[in-house]
């Protein structure tokens, strides 16, 4: 009988001690905010384009942490969806077409400076302050910072902002993926057709 009592008392004591330690740790090492939000935010492309219908990447990250779908980010595309699915342990889904399509090439905004009237509307629209200028002065895009989010195009009253693909230079060029046999035959065929057209 006493051995049972000893066991009960011992276990109870242990439970109290560990409970106290856990309780202390919970208070002492409390994590401020939701760490998963930052992890999600790191995976998002930070274009701040708002195509996901949230006013930026961080708000979307917060929404995902709260259970929003992970397939609403067209700039991130498939790779972002897969990375998010990995992180959150959910099934990857195809990109939600409602929020736009993934672009093949990264774009950047360019202001046709002769036509700019200096209205500052694009400056106010740019989510990352990548447009320089002042009222009644010509504006210009800091192309190195521009994420190609499109948000400045619509507010421009004189339509002087173009979205252009980022130019390939010797610095950012890299080799293409080698073609496999089937792709090569297709290319040869189309090339043949072109030659055929040129001859006739």
């Amino acid at each position: 009988m006493s051995s049972i009592l000893i066991a009960v008392v011992l276990l109870a004591t242990l439970a109290i001690i560990f409970g106290a330690i856990l309780g202390f740790a919970a208070v002492r090492f409390k994590v401020e905010g939701n760490p998963i939000v930052d992890q999600i935010d790191d995976l998002l492309p930070q274009t701040q384009c708002g195509q996901c219908s949230y006013p930026g990447c961080k708000p979307y990250a917060e929404a995902i942490a709260a259970g929003e779908k992970i397939n609403k980010c067209p700039p991130g595309g498939e790779s972002t969806i897969i990375a998010l699915a990995d992180l959150l342990g959910v099934e990857p889904e195809p990109l939600d077409a409602e929020h736009g399509a993934e672009k093949d090439v990264p774009m950047v905004a360019i202001i046709r400076e002769d036509e700019c009237i200096g209205c500052t509307k694009c400056i106010q629209a740019c989510p990352i302050d990548a447009i320089m200028g002042a009222a009644k002065q010509m504006h210009t895009v800091i192309t190195d910072e521009c994420t190609g989010c499109d948000l400045c195009v619509e507010p421009c009253p004189v339509d002087c902002i173009d979205m252009v693909p980022i130019e390939t230079t010797l610095q950012n060029w890299h080799w293409d993926k080698p073609k496999n046999l089937i792709e090569m035959i297709n290319i040869a065929d189309t090339a043949d057709q072109n030659v055929y057209k040129e001859v006739h």
């Binding site: 935010d41 998002l44 492309p45 930070q46 274009t47 701040q48 930026g56 990447c57 961080k58 990264p106 989510p127 990352i128 302050d129 990548a130 910072e145 994420t147 390939t168 230079t169 010797l170 950012n172 060029w173 890299h174 080799w175 293409d176 993926k177 080698p178 496999n180 046999l181 090569m184 035959i185 040869a188 090339a191 043949d192 030659v195 055929y196």
Partner: protein, 679 residues
């Protein structure tokens, strides 16, 4: 020097050397081509900045583009002539992209710059000259590594304080077909040794090892003879190494000669070694001793489609076509077809660089660069185009061949599947792209191209990640700024609302008081109905009260208008017309002034005998003074704000302030008069 014990690296291959074809004749010099195409970005780093313009006459060796930034190299006119264009032209690069080129129509005289021609740039005691001067001259002469990568030599030589122990000279020339360094060493061994002496001085290295493959016996004996002739054997040793591809890789050669391995993410200087190509040594000597910039180089032209394979001293910028014509190019032999049975027209195949690491040129109009050590024009039989890859049979030959001890097969799968993070974990960044794996692959898989693709994708991803981190910071900074602005605006709005409320309350209190005063005066009225004189006298105070009320109302209106103006000014987006309100303010101010005047007159004419009235008047005056003081303080505040923000409305506000002060003074005078009268 102590005998060197050689080491070896894992893997490596022994492809047919095919070097003898081009070493049968001495180095030939090419006739001056009619036109030269000189790209300004031939080196690693920022392209040079063009400093001449179209139409300029240039002499051989004249600077045409100066280095831009630290890692950059100068570009000089390779021959005398006229600049006919500065334009974008396709570069001899795997990307086939365009780059800025200076086009020079040669005058055929090949006239050196006067200073170089008359020898005034020559110096003899260069080994006693300061290092900074020597490095500056190397930079001014546009010397870049001639081994292939084209890294600016002046940058590589700025390692005086890094504790360099050994200078390794790369004379291995391990790639098949290429013999440019071989012939240089045979014919200009002394130039090479002199260059090495300069580099030893610059790097402060204790000794120098020249690593040379044993398939170049003539070059070895020439170097040894040259060393002996100037008694330089003490610090410089010629080390014969076994022929194996790619022993000429920087890291591989260092491993062979010293047994040390360069850290994966480091450079040779981290382990006290600097590695230079032999061609660079000779160029450095020419630059230091004679001030001659790098305007020509030795290039091998070889392959079965060439009649006379040989080494040629070529001016930088010479179109390859010119070189091909000189060496006798048999086009029909070099034709190749991309696919069997394909109707795509066959095109001659010309490779810049060797068969292992070179790349096929898109046309023969492209120029020779500082780093072009070989032009290879193989026949279809000699170097068949192996575009059709079969499936990987997992034979593992590539793993055995890899000189960096990577797992090429794994890297292939990862690159193909786009699993770049895994490729990175398998150290794809350490791949030197030597092509040994592709060479041994029985399935003819273009392995190196997969690795280059994966490396490019990884780099792109990294750049994108960096950019996204920057964007995040910018976005958060902007968000903070917007929040702060909104908070400031809200605080201002609340302050204004509180002020308005206060004013409202004050007005109400005044109105109540006025009503009370009227009531009391009407009592007086009714008490003294008899006597017209009294009647007349009584009419005065009523008139005063009226005037007072009117004045108060006008002042309130004025204040309201002014508030409105301030509001418009604070809110930029407001579209309301400022001018209209300003006019209204002016009108109201006039009215207030007129009323105040009237009131003052009325008061003056009012008899001071009425004790209670005068007390009342005094109280109201005092109150007015207080109100005026309040208003003044507020205006002062506004003026300060305007000053702080540098608003345009500052002068107008200042004027308003002066006027209000004036008014306050008037009121005070009035009070003083009142008091005097009361006494």
């Amino acid at each position: 020097m102590q005998p060197i014990s050689l080491h070896t690296f894992e893997g490596g291959i022994h492809p047919p050397e095919n070097k003898h074809q081009s070493t049968q004749t001495p180095i030939a010099s090419l006739p001056i081509p009619p036109q030269l195409i000189v790209p300004v970005g031939q080196h690693i780093g920022a392209p040079a900045e063009v400093i001449i313009k179209v139409g300029d006459k240039v002499a051989k060796g004249q600077l045409i583009a100066k280095p831009k930034g630290f890692i950059s190299a100068a570009v000089h006119a390779p021959t005398s002539g006229t600049i006919t264009a500065i334009e974008l032209r396709e570069l001899p690069h795997s990307s086939r992209l365009e780059g800025l080129c200076v086009i020079i129509d040669s005058d055929g005289e090949d006239r050196w710059l006067d200073e170089i021609a008359n020898g005034s740039h020559n110096i003899e005691n260069y080994l006693e000259t300061e290092n900074t001067w020597l490095i500056q001259r190397i930079r001014d002469c546009g010397i870049t590594g001639l081994g292939g990568a084209g890294f600016p030599t002046s940058v590589k030589m700025s390692v005086e304080n890094r504790g360099i122990e050994t200078l390794v000279i790369n004379a291995a020339e391990c790639e098949p077909y290429i013999t440019a360094d071989d012939s240089l060493m045979r014919e200009r061994a002394l130039d090479v040794i002199y260059g090495i002496q300069i580099m030893l001085k610059l790097t402060a290295a204790k000794d120098c090892l020249i690593g040379i493959e044993d398939n170049k016996p003539e070059a070895i004996s020439a170097l040894k003879a040259a060393l002996k002739s100037i008694h330089a054997e003490q610090r410089i040793a010629v080390v014969t190494i076994p022929t194996k591809y790619p022993s000429g890789g920087e890291r591989q050669l260092i491993k062979i000669l010293t047994g040390k391995e360069v850290p994966s993410d480091g450079i040779p200087a981290d382990i006290g070694i600097v590695c230079q190509n032999v061609g660079t040594c000779a160029a450095v000597y020419q630059a230091i001793a004679f001030g001659k910039p790098l305007v020509s180089r030795i290039t091998t032209i070889t392959g079965e489609s060439i009649n006379n394979p040989q080494n040629v001293e070529v001016l930088i910028g010479t179109p390859i076509k010119h070189l091909l014509e000189f060496a006798g190019f048999k086009q029909e032999k070099s034709l190749f077809q991309k696919l069997i049975n394909s109707k795509v027209p066959a095109k001659p195949r010309i490779i810049m660089g060797g068969p292992m690491m070179g790349f096929t040129l898109s046309s023969d109009e492209l120029p020779i660069l500082k780093s072009s050590n070989c032009i290879l024009a193989p026949s279809q039989k000699e170097l068949p185009a192996n575009d059709v890859a079969s499936a990987c049979i997992r034979c593992g030959l590539c793993t055995e061949a890899c000189p960096v001890e990577l797992l090429p097969q794994q890297l292939y799968w990862f690159s193909k599947a786009g699993e770049f993070d895994k490729a990175e974990q398998h150290n794809i960044a350490d791949c030197i792209e030597c092509g040994a794996c592709s060479y041994v692959c029985p399935s003819q898989i273009p392995l190196v191209q997969y690795y280059r693709y994966a490396k490019g994708e990884i780099k792109e991803e990294r750049v994108a990640q960096e950019k996204s981190n920057r964007s995040k910071i910018r976005y958060e900074a902007r968000q903070d700024r917007l929040d702060r602005e909104a908070a400031e605006k809200e605080a201002k709005r609340q302050a204004r609302a509180a002020a308005a409320e206060k004013a409202q309350a004050a007005k109400k209190a005044q109105a109540a008081k006025a009503a009370l005063a009227e009531a009391s005066s009407s009592v007086i009225d009714s008490s003294k109905v008899d006597g017209t004189a009294v009647e007349v006298k009584q009419a005065e105070p009523v008139n005063l009260e009226d005037l007072q009320q009117k004045l108060d109302a006008a002042q309130a209106g004025l204040k309201k208008s002014m508030d409105k103006i301030a509001e418009i000014k604070a809110d930029e987006s407001s579209t309301q017309d400022l001018a209209v309100f300003e006019k209204a303010v002016a009108n109201r101010r006039d009215k207030v002034k007129a009323l105040a005047l009237q009131l003052a007159e009325a008061k003056k004419s009012a008899p001071p005998a009425q004790q209670d009235m005068s007390a009342d008047g005094r109280a109201s005056l005092e109150k007015k003074i207080r109100a005026q003081q309040d208003r003044l303080a507020k205006t002062q505040e506004r003026v300060d704000l305007a000053k702080e923000q540098g608003l345009e409305s500052l002068p107008a506000l200042q004027k308003g302030l002066d006027k209000q002060m004036q008014k306050l003074k008037e009121l005070k005078d009035e009070l003083a008069q009142f008091e005097q009268a009361a006494l």
